[in-house]
Symmetry: C2
Subunit: 838 residues, 2 copies
């Protein structure tokens, strides 16, 4: 379903070599250009203002050399993203205002009002979906799952292009401008990464360092932090959230990059607001004003814990619901077919449904439907209590808080309705194929849930719980903060939402309740469902290694030998091209193991499939075939030139027909003949038609068959030759594991080094291979089927009556015997390498 | 100087095997015990309350199985550490109160006052130093450098024992109780790790999972977070700080462990304070009350930036000063000798000096000497302005703020004196051999510096900078917060001090200034000096890999082949014991490479030195020698029993003398004879004296020589035998690199996998080895000698006229030729392994 062209990053060895080659080329190029520059300088020296020019050139050089520095890149990235974030926010605000204005202007007629209220978002969402679909379908969705996969080392093409950037930014603005329950945080991670990739490409015009792959990945990691940081003006939370969401292993030396860029970005983002006179000074985005001296009582902690646990269940439910909707639509083939035809119908229908339900004079009045997401959050984090003793209090509702008050309906009912409706609406809305995230909607729902609990507590204990002297009433806004952090933490499986919440509200007084609730929510949610991003990764079938869960001991007990594939495809050093051909036909692995010989099985390295294919095509490729045929044709010409009788068209056509029949027969017989060889027959046939037929008027089918047989013979000869690995790139140190390595360690190594596969060796002998697939299966098998294991965890111990070291020793002994028997002839022929190695 | 017994963790392969063996044993043992338990159950079944007992056993089983879960361990750890932290704080507070009480009670006589003021800390510090020295010298210092090394994979013995725990806790309490400028944060990281290690040992009585090494390291990482978390009641900052300070690569899946344990610990720590009626509810440790609506003006940012940059220089200076003091004392041999003799003199002298200078009626009155560290910090973070227009304001000084006010001296002078004096005092005090950290003193100095800048700003702009309408006066307390975070960040090279500061003060309103200052401070400090912990690591010469600095491009250009050692010690599969013997004599490496043969150099694995030694001793060890000698003796007895003449004592003694002479001569000749063999000669000689001499009265020297020659011959025979690797543990997959791997990548891999050494191979052929030493040299060489490289960065490209792939291909060709020539005999003898591998 998802357009995805994955390619795993090359293994260390190959990559290192290519990089070295590139650097070498680069240095040569540079030295050439520098030489020409010095020549220029010499010329100028004779001119008038030589010194001046030299100085200019030096300055230029210095500046260019500085451009390579990380911090310049990070500042540019931060600046760019802050601007993008601010502009997007500004446009969204204008869009939302326009909707309100239209809605407000038509208050004379409810039907017109409804039309305006509904049409506006439908148009925007449809435009967004269509625009994204046409320009870059990769821009759909949050982008965090894809970034996670990219940072894992998988190259997803088209995900980091300028087209995607434009589609994502414009699509996101329209989608959020519609007022649907969607978030901008996930897409901003993607946009920041796009920015970083594009900036990196642009900067590579100045310096060579931008072409380094590992550096680019470091920069992408920093960009993710910038994305979250400039979206919420939360530098610390942004860095932590991006680490938690995208990385498995994090290099602490990259830490400062994220902090630096995110801080700069958040700073500029807030400064823009000050310059635009929106704010007086730099403050938090959703500033709260809870009292500082007594933020909460110790006895309120159980309520916070309840919020945490409930949020955990809620978060898991949200992820489940989201997946269910996607799977339902995919499974119902009738719906799916219809929707695939009319791609824009699904977004429009969903938008219509959601906006109809939130129509303020309709059902919307019971769920504060007229508030935008931002307004709802501001009101929910309000530090006043809405209800006391169950009755709505008579304080003066400032502006938006009014929306929560309904003359007939209790504030609790409004809140419950809000939570329930927004919950499924958000889960549904995030499945729309537009650029959108789910963080902010979930955050708002969490805040509403927290507020509900807080208001209940306030109603239950009108004078607070604290008994000594002073009365400290309960602050429901604090509960809202806790709820927001807990639910968003549960959905994304992160702890750093706690930090984001502090930075968003500008108050850290509720740190302990927030931390407790977030941890509890995480504990519950992680044991029930994968995170939203992992869920999307699974739905999209992106190549990713699942995380190890919390404290599963069995990972320490499952060994690589239990999960490895023992039937490894390999090629030997002294194999012939036929073996190569067969191996390439039967397997689909991207790299093949190169062993010394089939008996010793000593692993020498790995070769990429493409390399082998090029080897084979060199041996049997068009040039060599042509050469052979030319030789044959020359010989034929010589032979036939004596009896050249220009024949009739008719005869040659009949012959052609016969030939075609025979070719078909031959290919039917030789089932092992590849498509390449089949087309080669046609090629030969064409050649014969064009070269031989003009020479010989009516080539008998037997003659043609004779030629074919000759060619086949030649081909067989070629295939029987030993492979010459001279011009072949070999990775001499593919990653190796031992058969006793535990699953836990294997997972660690795979995710650390971003491996695709690893060979399992025993004293240099290749005995198996483990790829990402096996590992994923093993982990998921042992995670999901917890009680009844798919494979017994101690399978490796069952058949090990003899200890492994003994086995090894015997193997070694055999190896050794073999060498002993061969040591005599070797001693007679001291080779060059012998001298070299000593 | 430091007692340090380092052993690198074993390589993956070896470790995996041992672990597997252990688990297997464990499961056998467990199954046996379970069988016995079921037998017990059967017996009980006949009894009365069988059901009851079965239930009990099941509950017990369930509980025990739960004990293995991580969260139980983490809760216990958090609880324990919170208690320890609280008790330590409580004791420190009592100690400090006692000093105040003594000082206050003696206010009639200044001299007595002085005596009391000075004697008290001297006694405490001397006791602390002495106690630590006697019980566990490993407890000295902060412990963070050691933890960093341990988490790197190096096992430092004696660092995680119960003795060290006791020494550290008591030593720390006494040291901090003395009122010296020392911190508890570093030691608490160590104490938490000690707790975790001891708890892990204790818990391993219940479940086997606690014996897993990688799990223990994960737990230690969590413990470090707990240490910081419960010290400052700062869970988030604690986790981040501990990650930054101790890890190079961080597994995000361990993140929750740190958060969980640190939150729980911080929670309990604060709850204890509430229960003890110190606090009304859970709040921050150093709560501030800055205004929320307008925390700072945009135009104040340059001042914050100045604080950041100045703190950067200050931090670097602090690290430099600290190292200078240590090195000065070490270099001055006279001082060093004297101090080594009287170990307690140095702490006493330093304490005397510091406490004399802070004596309140003396010089201390100009630097708020009577305030403890905590009190100073509280006053420095005060939200009122101390001075306006340069004159001390007439507000009512509550309690401690009074100390900063001096009738004659300006508040600015007091602050400057405080900063300068505390700066060198802290740098000096942290060199005292007691358990102590430097974080808190530096934090206080930073706060004072920030306060100084803030007060200056307040004096400069008495009505604030903001011009529109409302007057917002400048808050010097905010500057103090920024300064504290910046200076402590600069000294420790961390960004997370920003988070710690928010959690300590309970206010996050100054987030952007703090972040900007911290990042600037880090940028400056990191480019000037290593962090305090890295500096200590270098002083103590702990085995650690230095970090790669900020954006050094040359790391991408240096290749492994530039730094590797080409002269690798190896053993071949068909080597004889003599080679083994020679290799063991000449090298000192912990592991040796095993190659197929000297010509092919194909790497088969690595063997530990100990394994080889045991092989050699099996071949030439006492049992085999004894056996041989017994055989010889039996033969001799047979021969001599016919002519047995009991001889005189005198003759045998002369003979002994001669023998001794000859032995000496023989050993002098054979310089290559090891000590083991030399002692063996003595052994033989003793044997002859006891066995042969009683048989033969006057053994002529020539006869003895004959025996010796025979034995030597036997030995030579033994040495010429081929090594039998049957009972030898071989790591079949030691880590391999390619010669083109960049230094950057090598560093990453070494720090990721905690490697000690890696072999450099080319198509399976061993061509070099890189160990931690070479890597460290290369990194430090290219870091310190920045302009003039120790080795040219592109050395690897100079001699590469021919491309590497060509080279490889030629090598491969040779290898291939060799096999081609040997393929015939192999085909005649199809071995077992041949069948197996197909």
């Amino acid at each position: 379903q998802t357009p995805m062209y994955g390619r795993y990053t090359q293994d260390l060895g190959v990559y290192a070599k290519e990089e070295a080659a590139r650097l070498r080329e680069g240095s040569q190029r540079r030295s050439v250009s520098e030489r020409s520059r010095t020549l220029d300088l010499l010329e100028y020296d004779k001119g008038r203002c030589a010194k001046c020019r030299i100085c200019t050139v030096r300055c230029q050089k210095f500046l260019i050399s500085r451009v390579g520095e990380d911090w310049i890149f990070l500042i540019l990235l931060g600046l760019l993203m802050a601007l993008v974030s601010w502009v997007v926010d500004f446009c969204i605000a204008i869009c939302l205002q326009a909707q309100k204005w239209m809605y407000g202007g038509l208050d004379s007629n409810v039907f017109l009002q409804y039309l305006a209220w509904v049409t506006y978002p439908v148009v925007l969402i449809t435009f967004s979906a269509g625009f994204t679909q046409i320009l870059a379908p990769q821009a759909v969705g949050s982008g965090i799952p894809e970034m996670k996969t990219i940072l894992r080392g998988v190259v997803l093409k088209e995900y980091l292009t300028f087209k995607t950037f434009v589609a994502k930014v414009i699509g996101l603005t329209c989608a959020l401008g519609s007022g649907m329950p969607l978030g901008k945080e996930g897409p901003f991670v993607h946009i920041a990464s796009l920015c970083a990739a594009l900036l990196s490409k642009f900067m590579s015009l100045f310096g060579g360092i931008y072409e380094n792959e590992s550096r680019n990945i470091e920069m992408l990691a920093a960009a993710c932090a910038v994305g979250v940081g400039c979206c919420f003006a939360a530098p610390i939370g942004g860095v932590l959230f991006s680490i938690e969401v995208t990385s498995t292993f994090f290099a602490v030396r990259n830490y400062w990059r994220g902090f630096f860029a995110a801080t700069f970005s958040a700073f500029i983002f807030r400064v823009l607001a000050v310059w635009n006179r929106d704010e007086e000074t730099i403050t938090a985005l959703f500033k709260t004003r809870f009292r500082l001296d007594f933020p909460f009582d110790l006895q309120e902690l159980p309520a916070f814990a309840v919020i945490g646990i409930a949020s955990g269940f809620g978060g898991a439910l949200f992820v489940y619901l989201n997946r269910l909707i996607v799977q339902f639509i995919r499974k119902q083939k009738a719906i799916n077919k219809f929707l695939m035809k009319k791609r824009l119908l699904y977004p429009a229908l969903v938008t219509l449904l959601v906006s109809t339900l939130t129509f303020p004079p309709g059902f919307g009045q019971f769920m504060a439907g007229r508030l935008t997401q931002k307004e709802s959050l501001v009101t929910l984090l309000d530090n006043r209590t809405w209800a006391k003793q169950g009755i709505a209090e008579e304080f003066d509702y400032i502006s938006h808080s009014q929306a929560w008050k309904h003359p007939q309906v209790n504030v609790f009912v409004t809140l419950v309705l809000f939570i329930v409706m927004k919950f499924w609406m958000s889960a549904l809305a995030t499945t729309i194929p537009v650029p959108c995230g789910a963080f902010m909607p979930v955050f708002v729902i969490g805040a509403a849930f927290g507020r509900l609990v807080g208001e209940s507590m306030a109603a239950w204990f009108p004078d607070g719980i604290h008994t000594d002297g002073t009365i400290y009433p309960i602050v429901p806004g604090g509960y809202a903060v806790v709820g927001a952090a807990a639910l968003s933490g549960a959905v994304t499986h992160t702890v750093s939402t706690a930090v984001i919440v502090f930075e968003l509200t500008g108050q850290i007084s509720h740190i302990l309740p927030v931390m407790i609730a977030v941890i509890l929510a995480n504990a519950v949610a992680q044991s029930l469902q994968p995170s939203l991003y992992d869920s999307i990764i699974r739905i999209k079938k992106l190549p990713y290694l699942p995380e190890l869960g919390w404290g599963h001991h069995e990972y320490y007990n499952i060994r690589v030998e239990d999960i490895m594939v023992r039937d490894v495809r390999y090629i030997t050093l002294n194999c012939c091209y036929r073996d190569l051909h067969d191996v390439l036909l039967t397997g689909h692995l991207k790299t093949l193991a190169l062993v010394e010989s089939a008996e010793s099985m000593i692993l020498l390295g790995s070769i990429e499939r493409a390399q082998l294919q090029s080897l084979l095509s060199q041996q049997l490729g068009r040039p060599r075939r042509l050469e052979y045929i030319r030789e044959r044709a020359a010989a034929e010409k010589k032979r036939l030139s004596v009896v050249s009788n220009p024949g009739s068209e008719d005869g040659s056509q009949r012959a052609n027909h016969e030939v075609r029949f025979q070719v078909r027969e031959a290919t039917a017989r030789g089932a092992h003949i590849s498509r390449a060889r089949f087309s080669w027959f046609f090629f030969c046939w064409q050649f014969f038609c064009s070269v031989i037929c003009p020479l010989q008027s009516s080539p008998s089918s037997s003659l043609l068959l004779f030629y074919f047989l000759q060619i086949a013979e030649w081909e067989e000869q070629q295939l029987d030759e030993q492979v010459n690995f001279n011009n072949c790139k070999i990775d001499p140190a593919p990653f190796q594991l031992v058969e006793r390595t535990s699953l836990h360690k294997t997972h660690t190594i795979f995710s650390l080094l971003g491996l695709d596969h690893a060979y399992v060796t025993s004293i240099g002998r290749l005995i198996g291979v483990v790829s990402l697939k096996e590992l994923r299966k093993a982990i998921e098998g042992s995670v999901t089927v917890k009680g009844v294991k798919v494979r017994p965890p101690l399978a490796s111990f069952r058949d090990s009556g003899t200890s492994s070291s003994e086995n090894e020793a015997t193997e070694l002994h055999k190896l050794w015997d073999r060498h002993k028997s061969m040591s005599l002839p070797r001693e007679h022929v001291p080779s060059d390498s012998d001298e070299k190695s000593q």
